[in-house]
Structure formats: C-alpha cells, structure tokens
C-alpha cells in the first residue's frame, strides 16, 4: 500500500473539515454564542495538522483500487472523530462515544440521534449537525475531487468508493468536472429549497439548516417534534425536496444537458416514484381513520413514506402508533432506499431492480435450462460482474443486519426496536420503530451497542465493501 499518497489525501480531507468547521464559527459570531470558540479551536487544529500533512512530499503516485477504498473509509472515520470534538468540548454531549454517534449519524446522513432533547443545542452546534448531513450526502471526497487538483489516475478509485450505487459512472470524461457538476446540482437544489422555505415563512437560519438536512437526506431537525410543528406548506415543500434528492443525479444532468426525454425515461426514477406512490396510497387508506380527512392522511402518509424511502428520517407524525400494515410497509421501504447516484441510502433502487430481474431470469432458466437471458436496465445489458456484485452485496447486507441485531439484543430491548434500530442506522434513515421510533431516540442503548450502530451507519453509507477491506488485515498488507 502506498501510504504516502494516502496521507496526502487524508490530510486534504482533514484540512477541508477544518474549513467546514469555520462555518459554525460564523453562526456563533452572528448569534454571539461562546460555543463558537470550541469550533474555532478544532477548526484551526484540523487546518494546521491537515496543512502540515499535505506539505509532506508524496513519494509515489501509485494509487489503485485498494488504496482508494482504504483512503475513503479512513477519511470517513477521521472526519467523524474530529467532527465529534466540538460537541464534546462544548459539553453539549458529555460522552465522546455519544458525540461520535451523533457526528457519524450526521455525515452518513442517518439523522439518528442520541439526544433526548435537541432543542438545548446552541445554534452553532445545531448548524454543524445539519451541515454534516449536507456534506455527507454528496460526500466530502467528491468535494475534494471537485476543488483540489488531485490530478492523476487515482480520483476515479476514490469516487467509486465513496459514491453509492451498483456501478459508478461519470457524467463527463473528467472526474473533476463530474464532481463539480454533481455539487453544482446539489447546491442548486438546496438553494431552491431555502428560497421556497423562506417564502413559506421560515427564518433564514431555519430554512438553511433544514434545507441542508433535507438535501443530504439526513434528517437532523431543530425541534424535538422534527417537522411536525411546521405548517402544511413547509411539510409539502420538504416532502418534494426529499424525493428530489433521492433521485439519481444523472437525471438532473440530462435535464441540464437539454435531454428531457432521456431524463424522463430513467427506469430507476420511474420505479422509485412508483414504489413511493403505491406505498403512500396503501398507507393513506390504512391510516385514514386516524385523521380528520383523507387529504391530511395522504399528506402525512406521503411525508412519512418520502422520509423513510429517501432515508431522510424526518417525521411529522408518530408512525410507530400506526397500524401494523403501515409499519411493515415503512420497514420494507427502508430496505429499498433511494436511487443510485443520489444522496439517499439503503440498498438502492437500481440494485433492487437488477436483483429482481436476475431472479426472474433465474426462474426462467430453471424451467428452460438452455435459455440464455441477460439482464437489461435503462435499455442496456447489465454485465455479469455487476449482477454478481449486487448479489454479494445483498448477502453481505443481510448478514450485517442479522449479526448487528443479535449483538445489540444484549441490551434486552424488544425485537422490533432492535431490528428497526439496525435497519434505520444501516440504511442511514434515522428513526426506526418501537423505542427508537419518531418520538424516541438511541440514548437508551449501551455504549457497546452505540459503537456497533455507529459502525453500521458507516458501513451502510460507504456500501459495505470499503469498510470490510479496512477490517481485513490480510488485504492491508503490502
């Protein structure tokens, strides 16, 4: 392994995080909060250490897939450990493990919280929480790729390790330009939401924090009631933007490149929206009796479905109190998640489509053993290696869910709580069912379980394999 170049990239990431940490300082300055000093100290420390690391000479530029995967996993771990320091230093989260859980939950756009009361947070800390959602949504390394001249062949390995989806492609020939386009689209969507929320009557601070949490499909809110206490207009805007951010960003690029026909033809987006529609309608009928009229029921159901399938994790109602059918539908769509190439988590719709189609082919080939059938998606043949990876991915996914659930069961909570806690963290959603439902939080879990769930979040965000490689010492040897 080429450690010198990995240190170079990791230092860049650290320096970038230092720069990001200056943003809460600005917030603290505006609102006159003393907590800003903690952020400033951590920011300066990261910038200096990162800067020094970057100044070291890179001995060799050799950078392959393995280096890419390890670099990305380590970056996320370092980012989380450093990003947790301010919460700990300000004393707002007295336990460092809790602070790390909260930060990982932010960067991985999970939005699960260990805080019983989020309203006690200072404005700068709350801003930092939501900002971690935003930057984690598209990925810090993608931003580093967009800005820094990391010329050379290795940027694709980094991009592939960080971006979600079964096969990561580029929009344009250059990784740098691709990363810039992605962040451009992302920033544009976020800005649009800020404007709309402000028109709907929100203050600038609220609008920008909530927009960041929505765009990253993160789900950190400012109030204990999440989005429940806001007006219907705000809830509708947030529903729409959650869905927008969980659609493959390729679609927006096609719109931008004036190919609306191809954009609308995107199979993954259609399936995604279809799942959203069906789930919403079923849940609406299921819960209609609990609401004054069917429109409120529909709007509430739509919000919850969007929030769960996009893996955002906002809530406007306590869906844990809903009938069993609705609860199980919500738990199932947790598993599917958003589209590939979006900010959403979960298994990803494209993987779901590929697996479903390969299953269909398998059934055909059982009855017609000589049949030859390829899997098609978006009008193209999906290569066998992608199908194989998707199948392995699913298997790894199931194993992780089962093992994690067994391990955290040590704490003695009921199975709904444990399974949904694992599903909600591993798929980067946030709230689950039972004790970790929309009104609950993760604070009751033991330190050990919190560490497991923290790892689940990281593994889920980076799509399993990068973190697995980090934990297999054989791979790490030269």
């Amino acid at each position: 392994m080429n450690y010198s170049i990995m240190i170079h990239v990791l230092s860049s990431v650290l320096a970038f995080e230092g720069l990001f940490l200056l943003l809460p300082c600005v917030v603290a300055l505006i609102y006159g909060e003393a907590e800003g000093l903690c952020f400033l100290a951590v920011a300066l420390g990261s910038i200096i250490i990162g800067g020094l690391g970057r100044a070291r000479k890179v001995k060799s530029k050799a950078f392959y897939s393995k280096e890419g995967l390890v670099t990305v996993s380590l970056s996320w771990i370092i980012m989380s450990l450093v990003g947790a320091l301010p919460y700990f230093l300000t004393g707002e989260i007295p336990n460092y493990v809790d602070a790390v859980f909260e930060t990982v939950s932010g960067f991985t756009t999970t939005g699960a919280s260990i805080m019983p009361d989020v309203e006690i947070l200072s404005k700068c800390s709350a801003f930092w929480r939501c900002f971690t959602n935003w930057i984690g949504g598209m990925g810090v390394l993608v931003l580093v790729l967009a800005i820094l001249p990391l010329s050379g062949s290795y940027n694709m390995h980094i991009m592939r390790a960080e971006s979600p989806g079964p096969s990561v492609g580029k929009l344009v020939p250059k990784v740098k330009t691709t990363a810039m386009i992605l962040y451009g689209i992302y920033a544009f969507i976020t800005a649009m939401e800020v404007v709309l929320l402000m028109i709907a009557g929100m203050s600038f601070y609220e609008a920008i924090t909530l927009s960041m949490a929505t765009a990253g499909t993160g789900g950190f809110a400012l109030l204990n009631s999440s989005i429940g206490s806001y007006t219907v207009a705000v809830q509708v805007i947030i529903t729409i933007f959650m869905l927008l951010c969980a659609i493959n960003f390729n679609v927006y690029y096609l719109v931008y490149a004036r190919k609306p026909k191809e954009a609308l033809a995107c199979e993954e987006m259609r399936v995604f929206l279809l799942i959203v529609l069906i789930s919403t309608v079923v849940i609406t009928f299921n819960i209609a009796g609990m609401f004054d009229n069917v429109f409120i029921a529909f709007q509430t159901a739509a919000f919850q479905v969007a929030s769960v399938i996009t893996t955002t994790g906002f809530s406007t109602a306590d869906f844990d109190k809903w009938p069993e059918l609705s609860r199980i539908i919500l738990l199932s769509i947790m598993f599917i998640g958003g589209c590939a190439g979006s900010t959403g988590g979960g298994l990803k719709v494209s993987r779901f489509i590929i697996l479903l189609k390969s299953l269909k082919n398998e059934i055909v080939s059982i009855s017609h053993p000589r049949s030859v059938k390829r899997v098609h998606m978006e009008g193209k043949v999906v290569s066998d290696s992608i199908i194989k990876t998707a199948q392995c991915y699913l298997f790894a996914y199931v194993i992780i869910v089962i093992v994690s659930t067994i391990v955290i069961s040590v704490d003695g909570f009921d199975i709904t709580t444990n399974l949904s806690a694992v599903m909600a963290t591993f798929n980067n959603i946030g709230p689950g069912l039972g004790m970790v439902g929309p009104t609950g939080n993760f604070s009751q879990y033991s330190i050990f379980s919190k560490i497991i769930l923290t790892l689940d979040m990281l593994i889920g965000r980076l799509e399993i394999f990068p973190m697995f490689i980090l934990f297999s010492p054989k791979m790490l040897r030269r």
């Binding site: 897939s65 010329s151 062949s153 694709m156 492609g169 250059k174």
Partner: protein, 453 residues
C-alpha cells in the same frame, strides 16, 4: 477539447493516457468491456462499450459535441467507417489508422474523399523514422523544427570522444561549431544544462543545430555523416516493405532475410532491386554467411520483440554496424533502453506521438501560439516552437535580461527564415519563431516561460 478514441489496443491506450494527462476530455469506445474497464480505472477517461462504427454508440459517446474522433482499431476498414460516420454525424475532425500497403498508394484519395483530417500508417511512420536515422547514422533520433531547417539530434557520447569533460561554454571554442546542447540525459536524470555544465562519457545529449551545422559538428567529432551504404533487414513484414523501398530510393543497398518462401517471392516482385534471402534470420550461420560482419546497418523487424532484441544484441557483439530495432511492447521500454542497442523504434509510440502532435496543433489553432511540439526523452522534456506576436512582452529584450523560469532554455530563433542559435545578446523580434526546450509541461505561450514579476 473533446476527443473520442475508438479502439483501446496499445495505440488507443497510449493515446488515452497521454491526451487525458494533457487535460483533454477523452471518451473511449471499444467492443471489449474488459479493455474499457481497465482504461477507465487507470485514467481519467469516460468509457463506452460497443462497436465504434455504430451511430448509436458514437452518439452515446458524444460525437455531436466532440471536436475529434481517432479510430485506431486493428481493422483499417473499421477505422475508415468510424471516421466516415463520425464525420457525417458530428462534423468533427477525424483521424484513422490505416496500415495496409494496399491502401497506402491511394491514401491521398481516401483522405480527401472521405474528409479525414489525418491518416496514420504506423508501419510507414516507423519506416520513415528508420530511414531518417540511416541517412544520418550517428544520431539515435532526429526531430526537425522550423520547417526542417533545424534538427534536434540525440547522440550518445562514447568514451574518448572529444566531447568528454568539456563544459558547455567552451564548446564553441574547442569544437568551433555553432550548435547548442539543450538536453542532457545522464543515467535516469534529464537535465537542462547551463554554461558551466560539464559533459561526461555515456551522457545522451541532444544537439540543436541548423541542418548543415549539424553535419559539420559531427565531422569535427570524427563521426560518419554520410548515409550508410548498405543495410541488412531481418523480417519481411509491412514495415520492411516501406523501409526497403525508401532505402532503395536513397541508393542504399538492401538485403532482406525472410523465412517464408512465398513472402520472399512477393517481396522480390515488389522490390526487384533488393536482394531477398530465403532463410531464418535468427540463425547465426545464415547471418554470418550473408555478411553481418560487413554490413553498415542492421535492422531487426521480425514480429517478435524478443527475437529483435536478441538479434540486435548479437549484432552489437560482432560489429560496429548501425543498429535499429523494432519493439512493439512499450511497457518495458526502460529495460530495453538500458541494453544500449542504438536506435529503438516503437511503432506504437510513434503513432501515438504523431496523433498527439496533431491534436496539440489542432488545440493550438483554437487559442495558443504553439507551432510544433515535441515530447522528448520519454516525455520528460518538451521542445516547443512559438510564433512571436507583435504584442509579446519578450520583443527587443536581450536574452540575458529575460527572466526565464528555471529549466527553460531558448534554443533557437528563426528570424525571417534565418536560423540563429542565440547567445545572451540576441533579441527576439515580432514574427520570429522561437524554440523553447523545457522540463516544465503545459506552457501555452512564451509569456508562460517568463518569471512572474
């Protein structure tokens, strides 16, 4: 600039590497998914899997927005078809690789009628490079600048050469010749030397001089300056045909050893003046019998790199003949270079180099002032020819007062067709062309060479 490359073989991947590093937007097309994946994993390029001659595939690769399509698959016909379709679909410039001798005589017609910008024939390009070296056997490699008025010649200093232990500022006095040494390769290091630099044996130097001065210079060194009188070529492939015909036209006696009888007859039909020997050129006895000891030049052109290198090593041990060796595989070029086999020709490198040159020239016509550009010494050195415009800040200043960035040297000024090897007092005028030699990449104009004030 957006470029599509069809075919990810050796040439295609070399091109993709080189052009993507130079900052162009590259999309590659190949029917083999594995090849495309390998390239997109290693270089910053976009890959499309499919038949490059299909319109759908080309549109997916963005032919409508592309500025240039380069077709370098194995098949000549496919290459031509790719270019034809790209031309009609996107109206972009097109470059095709066409290597069959059957088409080579009609290349002008094909190029004009199909509207191609450039047709490249690797074997012919290799043959041309070889014949140029045989014309001037002291050189390892020759590049021409300023409409062929100036040559840049690589030369290896041998033990006991008059150049040993001479510092560059004494060069003019001691040798008495108007030449400049802008690049020295010592071991693995490439140096842009200054006046105090002392030459040593085993240095590979590049000499920049007006063509006739170069001849003068080599005469003073006691090196042969006339073309070789006869050449022995092993292997009668396409390159051999191109090379032998060129050598025969130059009046050089050619002896070709080829092991296939039918091929020998074909060669004899094509080139009645050549002496064709039917025999295995890798057999020691055959070589001895056919006079390897007396020949002036020994060219190994079989289809196997290993054989070519073995043959060259064998010839090197026996004679002082000028050696030219063809090597296809480019990944091990540093090992081959260490064998000191004289001139080594990499046809694939050469193809990539010619196309890269064309791309640069095309890019330049879109904005910067580079007239020609050569990548030298394994791409570590660039020699660039700039046209000086009237508003350039370098005009009228003696070179000694120009603050250049480190590792940049002004090698030559062409003033109204007059070639000047400059000294500290020389000045650059508007309309001159200037050749810069530098290890810094990415200069686009002569201003970029100046230290920032």
């Amino acid at each position: 600039m957006k470029i599509i490359i069809v075919g990810c073989g050796n040439v295609g991947s070399t091109l993709a590497e080189q052009l993507s590093k130079e900052g162009y937007d590259i999309t590659i097309i190949d029917a083999k998914e594995q090849l495309v994946n390998n390239l997109t994993n290693t270089f910053d390029v976009l890959g499309v899997v499919g038949n490059g001659a299909s319109l759908g595939v080309q549109i997916e690769a963005g032919v409508k927005e592309a500025d240039l399509l380069i077709a370098v698959t194995r098949s000549d016909e496919l290459n031509l078809l790719c270019c034809l379709i790209a031309k009609k679909a996107g109206g972009c410039h097109t470059i095709a690789r066409v290597s069959s001798p059957v088409y080579s005589k009609e290349i002008g017609f094909i190029k004009d009628e199909l509207g191609l910008s450039l047709i490249i024939n690797p074997q012919r390009a290799a043959a041309r490079e070889m014949s140029r070296i045989l014309k001037f056997p002291s050189a390892l490699k020759i590049d021409s600048f300023a409409k062929s008025r100036v040559d840049l010649i690589s030369y290896l200093i041998e033990e006991g050469s008059p150049l040993c232990d001479i510092s560059l500022k004494d060069l003019r006095i001691k040798i008495g010749c108007d030449v400049l040494i802008p690049i020295v390769e010592r071991g693995t290091e490439v140096i842009i030397p200054d006046g105090n630099f002392v030459l040593k044996a085993k240095d590979e130097i590049s000499i920049l001089a007006e063509s006739r001065n170069a001849v003068d210079f080599f005469k003073k060194l006691g090196e042969p300056t006339a073309a070789v009188k006869d050449a022995m070529i092993i292997g009668g492939g396409r390159t051999c045909i191109y090379l032998a015909s060129q050598l025969i036209d130059m009046g050089i006696k050619v002896k070709i050893i080829e092991k296939d009888k039918a091929r020998c007859e074909e060669l004899s039909e094509l080139m009645p003046k050549a002496l064709i020997i039917h025999g295995d050129g890798t057999e020691r006895e055959v070589l001895m019998e056919e006079g390897i000891l007396q020949t002036n030049a020994f060219v190994s052109l079989t289809n196997f790199d290993e054989e070519n290198i073995m043959l060259a090593l064998f010839a090197k041990s026996l004679t002082k003949a000028k050696l030219i060796t063809k090597v296809h595989r480019i990944s091990y070029d540093n090992i081959v270079d260490n064998l000191e086999l004289g001139s080594i020709i990499y046809p694939k490198y050469l193809t990539a180099e010619i196309i890269t040159k064309y791309v640069r020239a095309m890019h330049n016509s879109m904005g910067s002032n580079i007239e020609t550009l050569y990548m030298l010494n394994d791409n570590r050195v660039e020699a660039l020819e700039f046209l000086i415009k009237e508003d350039s800040p370098v005009i009228g200043i003696p070179l000694i007062d120009l603050e250049l960035k480190p590792n940049i040297l002004i090698g030559c000024i062409t003033h109204r067709g007059q070639v000047i090897i400059p000294n500290g007092q020389s000045k650059i005028e508007a309309g001159d062309t200037v050749i810069l030699v530098t290890t810094t990449h990415g200069l686009h104009d002569i201003q970029d060479a100046l230290k920032l004030v």
